[in-house]
């Protein structure tokens, strides 16, 4: 019975994974005739807007990467090491730090994918290939959404680490009284 349940769960996971992977491709819609015309007419403005967003994202990426690195190298890892040296419980914090580092690594990978798609989008001549441009734009949006989701996960982990430290502080205060 357990084997049947296990196989069922495995099959369901595979089907879910298949649809999850294919979802982005299915979600890409063709532009309407009006949109094609609008893209063609406003191509210069759209390209200028995209250039601005691309430049801004590059700066955000640099700043975020730096801010994420500072949190681990200057704060999380030193505190974890200090707790271990003092024989205090640091297992939870070490696990959270590892999760954080994996998420930051995923952020780098997903931003890399996003940046490549964005660069491809900027290469497309929107006045000559408006439909292709629109489809690529949607791919860029999905990639941007992935990056956004990972930054949200990272923010959650940052909060989680803080909550764990606050709990340790509370325990320490209660022990001192």
């Amino acid at each position: 019975m357990q084997k049947i349940v296990l196989v069922g769960v495995l099959c369901a996971s595979l089907v879910a994974a298949f649809f999850a992977v294919g979802a982005d491709a299915e979600d890409i819609v063709q532009p309407t005739t009006a949109q094609v015309q609008t893209i063609r007419d406003n191509c210069i403005d759209i390209s200028a807007n995209l250039d601005r967003i691309y430049a801004n994202d590059a700066l955000v990426r640099v700043n975020q990467g730096r801010a994420y690195d500072v949190l681990t190298s200057s704060l999380m890892q030193p505190l974890n090491a200090r707790l271990v040296l003092n024989g205090s419980e640091a297992g939870g914090l070490v696990i959270t730090t590892n999760t954080y580092q994996q998420q930051v690594s995923s952020f780098r990978t997903s931003y890399q994918q996003y940046e490549r798609l964005f660069a491809d989008l900027r290469e497309i001549n929107c006045s000559k290939q408006p439909a292709v441009f629109y489809e690529k734009l949607q791919e860029v949006r999905f990639a941007r959404e992935d990056v956004r989701n990972i930054t949200r996960d990272i923010q959650q982990t940052i909060k989680s680490y803080r909550a764990q430290v606050a709990q340790l502080r509370k325990t320490e205060q209660e022990g001192a009284q």
């Binding site: 590059a58 500072v70 200057s74 030193p78 890399q112 680490y161």
Partner: protein
């Protein structure tokens, strides 16, 4: 003079040119390898010195909001005051790392790019 001597003498005549050509080929290979590593590692995306990142470079020069976070000492005792000090540093760094509007979808929306269906 046998065939080997002829080959050697011809090589001897052109050995300087062969050396220069070899050096150029090796240099091209190494530069290609370095460029591919530069691109595949993602370093290109954080390199604001590229000509394409001129606008980002200018903004970075104007952006003075990022402050350096002091390193938390990895050695020393642990008590409530230490946690308090840590949390103070942590909150400052966390504020710089967290922003609700990071990579928001709005800038790339149809309305922002003015490609709405209704237009």
């Amino acid at each position: 003079m046998n065939e080997d001597d002829v080959v050697n003498s011809r090589f001897g005549e052109h050995r300087f040119i062969v050396m220069i050509a070899s050096v150029v080929v090796i240099a091209i290979l190494l530069v290609s390898l370095a460029l591919s590593m530069y691109i595949s590692s993602g370093a290109i995306q954080v390199d604001l010195s590229r000509p394409a990142a001129e606008e980002a470079r200018e903004r970075a020069a104007q952006n003075t909001t990022i402050t350096t976070t002091q390193d938390f000492p990895a050695e020393g005792e642990i008590n409530a005051d230490v946690y308090k000090e840590f949390l103070k540093l942590y909150d400052g760094a966390a504020n710089q790392a967290t922003s609700p509007s990071l990579f928001a979808p709005e800038p790339l929306s149809n309305s922002a790019l003015r490609i709405d269906d209704t237009q």
